[in-house]
């Protein structure tokens, strides 16, 4: 999962540090800002909105992958972990279990909404208010 999703973060941070305005870079260079101070004061804050975008994409991808990976059928053997993914998969395959399936989907939606509300939206607001260029 880390292997697949690090790229989202890496590329977004790269895009972010390339988007640092020239005058800020020039000012930083003029005042001799280097190394960690340069990252802490300029490059990371300037690419924060990009970093959040990268994190959201990465976490979405990760979550997707982890839910799907809860049920693996391979060479006729079925490996199953307990979790939302396998729950939904089980009741999808069973017949006449609409309510269970519905519950699974409702819980999943609730997760997504809560995550968006309490984590991502806050980070986005921070990016918008404090780190906008």
């Amino acid at each position: 999962m880390a292997l697949g999703t690090q790229w989202y973060i890496l590329f977004n941070v790269m895009a972010g540090s390339m988007a640092v305005p020239g005058d800020l870079k020039e000012a930083a260079r003029g005042f001799g800002l280097r190394g960690w101070a340069l990252w802490r004061r300029l490059l990371l804050p300037a690419s924060f909105p990009y970093l959040v975008t990268g994190l959201i994409t990465a976490s979405g991808g990760t979550w997707n992958a982890s839910i799907v990976a809860e049920v693996v059928t391979w060479h006729g053997k079925t490996l199953e972990a307990t979790g939302l993914g396998s729950y939904i998969a089980r009741w999808t395959l069973a017949e006449g279990q609409g309510p269970h399936l519905l519950l699974g989907i409702a819980v999943m939606s609730l997760y997504v909404v809560a995550l968006n509300r309490f984590l991502w939206r806050r980070l986005y607001r921070l990016a918008e208010e404090r780190y906008r260029l």
Binding site: P21, D23, L24, E26, A27, A28, R29, G30, F31, G32, L33, R34, A37, R41, L42, P45, R130, Y131, R132, L133
Partner: protein, 423 residues
């Protein structure tokens, strides 16, 4: 000498083609003086300032600061930027302390010195504010404090007052001058780049005028006026006039026109007509400063217009005056229809680029924009080529010489032209 530049030459390369900006520039800034660097926009003055500051290396020549060769950003110099260049996520205090942080000054000392610098520029009480909460003038005070806190020997101002409204700019200039005269600035020299002549004359002891393309120091004009300087005093006006003239030297304009036959100035037809009318109202001849004030323009805005009128053979610029030619006088008083026709005639006669393009369009009926752009690129760097192309489109369409298809990006023969290509 505190700061010296010898034989500075710099070219930027665009698409593999070098585009010379500075050629053999020499200058020296001594202790205790304020020097203004003046020139046309895009004339290389900001580039020169950055080379002096060690932010970009020259292609040839060298900069010496306190006798030592400058190889990178020099510690004893600090710059104030036109765009303020404040870090939006840092408070005023943190912004000001930035330069000290980079030099490894311990936190306590750094904050104390930053507070002192903030107090010096009159921003006490705003230490914890974020830049976006400040007005433009206050932002530039932060920019100034950030430069002063590192106690530079030379303070560099890159159009530092240009983004401010005139009143705010005047206030900040006055405060800076007061601090300078009271000996409260660490700096022992100030070098300012500006396109505002009045600003240069209000502040500087000496003005250096960059001329030509590539630019070199063309004139040095002493400003031996006592402070406080009154912008309405005849001697103040005389110095402003002298600098105007240095910027509009006859041979200078001619050489530029020759060198840059393809570098059409950015001037809307509407603005050209309005300027010609203004000149006509003055009896066909007017002083440039008067004209600029009357049209509500800065020098920078006036020059491309005058250059365009000159190119078209509608006006001449000489010794700080602009004068309409007989054709220009006729154009200024013509009806809109006649005006269009005259404009087209003059374009074809005076601007070889147009004559060639018009010929090509008549012969082939359709000429892709890309072909014109490729031609322009042979003489100009990419952004300039695009800019000139936009001028070609506007002028050509207005004169009825060229049609332009936005979607296909081709020039074609406008309809009424098919039967009467002679116009």
């Amino acid at each position: 000498m505190l700061l010296e530049a010898r034989d500075i030459t710099k070219a930027f390369s665009t698409g593999g083609k070098p585009f010379p900006v500075l050629e053999g520039v020499n200058l020296a800034v001594g202790e205790g003086e304020i020097v203004a660097l003046l020139g046309r926009s895009g004339g290389g003055k900001s580039t020169l300032l950055r080379i002096l500051a060690g932010l970009i290396p020259p292609d040839r020549g060298e900069v010496r600061f306190q006798g030592k060769r400058v190889e990178g950003p020099a510690e004893g110099m600090a710059m104030v930027f036109q765009s303020f260049a404040l870090f939006p996520w840092l408070s005023v205090l943190e912004n000001v302390a930035l330069g000290l942080e980079a030099r490894g000054v311990p936190k306590e000392a750094r904050l104390r010195r930053a507070r002192e610098a903030i107090a010096l520029v009159g921003l006490q009480g705003f230490e914890e504010a974020l830049p976006k909460e400040l007005s433009g003038g206050m932002k530039q005070r932060v920019g100034l404090a950030r430069a002063l806190v590192v106690e530079p020997l030379v303070l560099l101002l890159d159009e530092a007052f240009s983004a401010l409204d005139p009143l705010t700019a005047e206030g900040l200039r006055g405060d800076l001058l007061d601090l300078w005269q009271a000996g409260r600035l660490p700096a022992r020299a100030i070098l300012l780049v500006t396109h505002n002549l009045e600003e240069a004359v209000a502040l500087a002891d000496r003005a250096l005028v960059l001329q030509g393309s590539p630019a070199r120091i063309g004139r040095e004009i002493a400003i031996p006026l006592a402070h406080p300087r009154d912008p309405h005093h005849p001697r103040f006006r005389a110095v402003v006039e002298e600098i105007y003239q240095a910027l509009t030297l006859r041979e200078e304009v001619e050489r530029r026109l020759e060198e840059e036959m393809v570098r059409l100035p950015s001037a809307s037809v509407e603005a050209l007509a309005s300027l010609a009318e203004a000149l006509a109202r003055h009896g066909g001849r007017a002083d440039l400063p008067v004209l600029a004030t009357e049209e509500g323009l800065e020098v920078d805005d006036l020059f491309p217009l005058l250059e365009a009128l000159e190119l078209l053979g509608f006006a001449r610029v000489e010794r700080g005056d602009a004068e309409l030619t007989p054709a220009g006088t006729a154009w200024a008083s013509a009806t809109p229809e006649e005006r269009k026709i005259m404009f087209g005639e003059h374009l074809l006669r005076q601007v070889p680029l147009f004559a060639r393009l018009h010929q090509a369009v008549l012969e082939r009926h359709r000429v892709p924009e890309e072909r014109v752009l490729a031609r322009l690129r042979q003489h100009l760097p990419e952004p300039e080529a695009k800019r000139v192309l936009a001028v070609v489109r506007e002028w050509g369409r207005y004169a009825g010489l060229l049609g332009y298809d936005d979607r296909a990006r081709v020039f074609f023969v406008p309809e009424q032209m098919e039967e009467a290509p002679e116009l």
